[in-house]
């Protein structure tokens, strides 16, 4: 089971007053503010707290799949060949060179990527030596080491020889070569248009064999991560790395208590772009505080400067309504979509007219209200969040406005509406299990969904489950869940492939831990294998489309994904997308500059500044 980086655990948001909202919501625009109250100065300590780190692989970048961890890595600790600007909006989703001298270009056939690396970039203590392309190669060897549980290693499968290495059939990865210490060449088996996004992932950042090689079990390297970025985990300079046996876990990271980052003495800003990492503060502390309310009380009082956790709805409401606090409320597009998923393999959702009818029947604005109105996000009208299309998706696209008459008109065309009155009258429309969560805002809108569906004769029995159980239920294909509204999806990186691949690819249908809940692309053979039924009319597939878009670059790539998004909405109709959710954070008076990092969906630690005189 792949633990998706952006499996969304979810957050209830406040019904805050009208706010400036990022994303596609009509006339709203991004509030790319600085959250500042004073000039930006260097120095000071950024003090954060979270209820739980929530790491999925104990902070080893080879396997770690938590969005926030990615924020720490590429803002502060690990520099990849390419990276991001750590800025909000579409700009923050653009790839820029980092350790690479310039943005690499693929060969004409799209199969070879040659990257020239900057010289003179050094690892932080205890390694203290220049980073070479060999350290990148070692990172890829770690990705190919099964025991390290690289959770998103599949992104590197197009590299030639990756599979052979993983299976132990080869000692090296044939597709990665290093002509010299500052040149690295990747040979792919198929053109991969988003290859640079993949290279920007933390698992592909350089790792020194002399330390990382000491850790052969999943996650253990997380306690001794060697930095290449502007900061390092505190205590790194106290480590004796002369032999594996002498390496003790860093004092600056206690998974149960806290994490401290300090400046990396070996970091040379000249090798980096100050626009991408301003590295203002001297120190960053993240403490675990089990009381979420308390965290935000401390933020308000200035005892903390912020939290990566989503504030409780009443905190957001307070910040939205209070003039002095308002400037410390930061709302940006979270690049994630919440949706109702329908199971294409079973009646009545094997009939596209039923699925379209459901899309018309659902009152998405009411669901948005249940989430907390516009602060929480915009009503979603298609699959992939707009920021991933670099603002190119037509803003007036709205295939399924809330319209009961249109819903009934669709239902009339369905074979399950035998008397053609726009209301499903087949037995298969009765007593359908609808999986949802047992907490707000879901509990607020589960009745709305049930009520909406009743209008077209679809009668659901809502099962409200805890977050984890709800996911496990819909991820187990055998359970054959007809309809569910507990799920959300966020990007792994700013390319639509991170939606279409895992969510609708036939290859991703697996018995447990499945993320293609709608079973798009299911074949009769696979259905048999999974012990579920297969509808007479078959199930649509978008594998060919995904494959066609995959190798493309730049504008052609965007256009291809946009067309596919529309196709999925109109010809496949696996979902009712209802909310394009925002990321909401608040900062304390001590934070003199807030910047949002669109890529990680968290605050841009690389650009945050504090004013110690306003800290308590």
């Amino acid at each position: 089971m792949k633990s998706r980086k952006r499996w969304i655990i979810g957050a209830a948001l406040a019904s805050a007053a009208a706010l400036v909202v990022a994303g596609c919501g009509g006339d709203s625009k991004s509030s790319g503010d600085t959250g500042s109250s004073g000039t930006v100065t260097k120095g000071g300590t950024l003090r954060l707290a979270t209820t739980d780190f929530g790491f999925t692989n104990a902070f080893d970048p080879t396997g770690e799949y938590l969005g926030l961890a990615w924020g720490y890595y590429d803002n502060l600790l690990t520099r990849g060949l390419v990276g991001y600007k750590h800025r909000p909006d579409a700009d923050g989703n653009l790839i820029v060179p980092d350790l690479a001298e310039a943005l690499p270009e693929p060969s004409a056939d799209g199969l070879t990527w040659t990257v020239k690396m900057k010289k003179g970039v050094k690892f932080a203590p205890p390694v203290n030596r220049e980073i070479t392309t060999k350290d990148i190669v070692f990172a890829f060897e770690r990705i190919g080491t099964k025991s390290l549980a690289a959770q998103y290693g599949f992104y590197f499968d197009p590299i030639e020889g990756m599979q052979a290495f993983r299976d132990g059939k080869a000692k090296t990865i044939s597709g990665i070569t290093t002509p010299d210490d500052s040149t690295i060449v990747f040979k792919l088996t198929e053109p991969t248009g988003d290859f640079l996004y993949r290279l920007a992932m933390p698992a592909a950042s350089p790792m020194p064999k002399e330390v990382a090689g000491c850790f052969t079990k999943a996650g253990e390297y997380g306690r001794n991560l060697v930095s290449s970025g502007p900061y390092m985990i505190a205590g790194s300079d106290k480590i004796d790395a002369s032999s594996c046996a002498k390496i003790k876990p860093l004092t600056g990271f206690d998974p149960a208590k806290n994490m401290t980052f300090v400046r990396n003495p070996n970091y040379d800003p000249a090798t980096d772009n100050a626009e991408d990492r301003s590295a203002n503060v001297d120190k960053i502390t993240i403490d675990i505080n089990t009381n979420l309310q308390d965290i935000f009380d401390k933020v308000e009082r200035g005892e903390l400067d912020g939290s990566p956790d989503t504030p409780p709805s009443e905190v957001i409401a307070k910040y939205a309504q209070d003039d002095t606090l308002k400037k410390n409320l930061h709302v940006f597009s979270g690049d994630r979509t919440w949706y109702i998923t329908m199971n294409l393999s079973r009646a009545p959702f094997d009939d596209i007219h039923v699925r379209k009818a459901v899309n018309f029947a659902i009152d998405k604005a009411s669901i948005q209200q249940a989430w907390g109105g516009e602060t929480s996000g915009a009503v979603a009208k298609h699959i992939v969040p707009d920021a991933l299309y670099n603002g190119k998706f037509p803003t007036d696209y709205d295939p399924y406005p809330f319209d009961v008459e249109k819903a009934k008109a669709e239902m009339k065309q369905s074979k399950y509406d035998t008397n053609q009155d726009g209301v499903c009258d087949a037995a298969v429309c009765k007593n359908l299990f609808h999986i949802s969560r047992n907490q707000p805002p879901w509990t607020k809108y589960n009745p709305i969904i049930a009520e909406n569906l009743k209008a077209i004769g679809v009668d659901v029995k809502t099962q409200e489950l805890p977050t984890g159980t709800a996911y496990t239920t819909i991820q187990t294909v055998e359970k054959n869940v007809p309809i569910a509204s507990n799920a959300g999806w966020g990007k792994d990186f700013a390319d639509a492939s991170t939606f279409f691949g895992p969510l609708f690819g036939s290859a991703t249908i697996i018995p447990t831990g499945n993320s293609n809940y709608s079973l798009v692309g299911l074949t009769a053979a696979k259905a048999k294998e999974l012990k579920i039924g297969f509808p007479a009319g078959g199930v649509p597939s978008i594998d060919a489309d995904t494959k066609a878009c995959g190798p493309l670059l730049d504008q052609a790539r965007l256009d291809c994904w946009i067309a596919l998004d529309k196709k999925v909405m109109e010809e496949v109709v696996p979902w009712v997308p209802y909310l394009s959710a925002n990321s909401v954070e608040v900062s304390g008076p001590g934070m003199s500059q807030y910047v949002f990092d669109q890529n990680s969906g968290e605050m841009a630690f690389a650009h945050i500044a504090v004013d110690p005189s306003k800290q308590k």
């Binding site: 099964k146 025991s147 308390d294 005892e303």
Partner: protein, 321 residues
């Protein structure tokens, strides 16, 4: 007396063996899912599951698994004694963190115990002595309030009032005694009181009821008839007789508290066992949940043993039963 203790001790060992057996059943046998998957938690790669399997000996037969589990506990593992294996979430041995947190929770629980016993007994005794007066009614009103007010509410309200608004109390968190004794005390004071209040209320009612019962006993009349001063009648005769059930209760409550001060620890951000197990549940870290379960069961067993022995000291009638 010696035989009594030995008998109770043997019985406790039987109970602890049963506890390990039940824990094993609950965590290894009963779940319909693959235990390897359950222990691997959030991140279920085949490799990790293989590591879990190897670590817990899941490829062996169930009895062998059980023996491995018990052996790890009894003999210890590379992370310390008793052995609790590792957390597949933090990739760290559970032992050290567990005992660090136990230490913190002990400090919280002992302080709370002292406060709630003093408060509970004092209020209960006064209330019984002045029964049916305004004082009694006020005290029992307080008790009802204490029993019915949820700890999280009390915790949040007291934080809001004393820290956020009045600024006379330090905020949440925990300071080690060795770092700063003063800070240690001020940081623990509010959690102690909040945690103690519920128990104090319960105990006040118990003590009051017990006192009222004892006050009507013939031997209290005897004591007065002997000319024993009233104060001594209250302390030596009434209180002494009514305190025994309280001691029993307090012992068990204290032991249970070691793993169940979840709310107080969460609200006041105290890195104790309760917060640990909550975190583990959120992270699907079954190894930690199991370790806490076993340790908690052990403490409850130990407490009930100690309480039984103490009871025998407190009440000579028990010794020969």
């Amino acid at each position: 007396m010696g035989r009594y203790i030995i008998r109770r001790l043997l019985w406790s060992i039987v109970v602890i063996v049963a506890v390990t057996l039940f824990s094993f059943l609950i965590f290894y046998v009963l779940p319909s899912t693959d235990p390897a998957a359950a222990f691997a938690g959030k991140q279920q790669t085949a490799e990790l599951k293989a590591e879990v399997r190897k670590n817990l000996g899941l490829d062996k037969s169930k009895p062998v698994q059980y023996l491995t589990f018990v052996k790890t506990l009894v003999v210890g593992d590379k992370y310390g004694w008793p052995g609790f294996n590792k957390s597949f979430n933090t990739r760290d041995g559970i032992h050290d963190e567990l005992f660090r947190r136990l230490n913190v929770t002990l400090q919280l629980a002992i302080g709370a115990l002292v406060i709630w016993l003093i408060m509970g007994v004092l209020i209960g005794v006064l209330s019984a002595l002045k029964r049916r007066t305004k004082w009694d009614r006020a005290a029992m009103g307080f008790a009802l309030l204490g029993i019915s007010t949820p700890v999280f509410f009390l915790g949040l309200v007291s934080l809001f009032v004393f820290w956020f608004k009045l600024k006379i109390a330090p905020g949440t968190g925990f300071v080690h005694f060795s770092d700063n004794p003063g800070q240690w005390f001020t940081h623990l004071l509010m959690p102690w009181i909040v945690l103690a209040l519920l128990f104090a209320a319960v105990y006040a009612r118990i003590v009051r009821g017990s006192m009222l019962e004892v006050m009507g006993e013939d031997y209290i009349r005897t004591a007065r008839a002997k000319g024993v001063p009233e104060r001594q009648v209250i302390t030596r005769h009434m209180l002494r007789a009514s305190i025994t059930p309280v001691v029993t209760l307090a012992g068990i409550d204290f032991a249970v508290l070691l793993s169940s001060a979840v709310v107080t620890e969460s609200v006041f951000n105290i890195p104790g066992m309760g917060a640990y197990v909550l975190q583990a549940v959120n992270n699907q870290d079954l190894g930690v949940v199991m370790a806490v379960t076993v340790l908690a069961a052990f403490f409850v067993t130990l407490a009930s043993l100690l309480v039984d022995i103490l009871y025998a000291f407190l009440d000579p009638r028990v010794r020969y039963t």
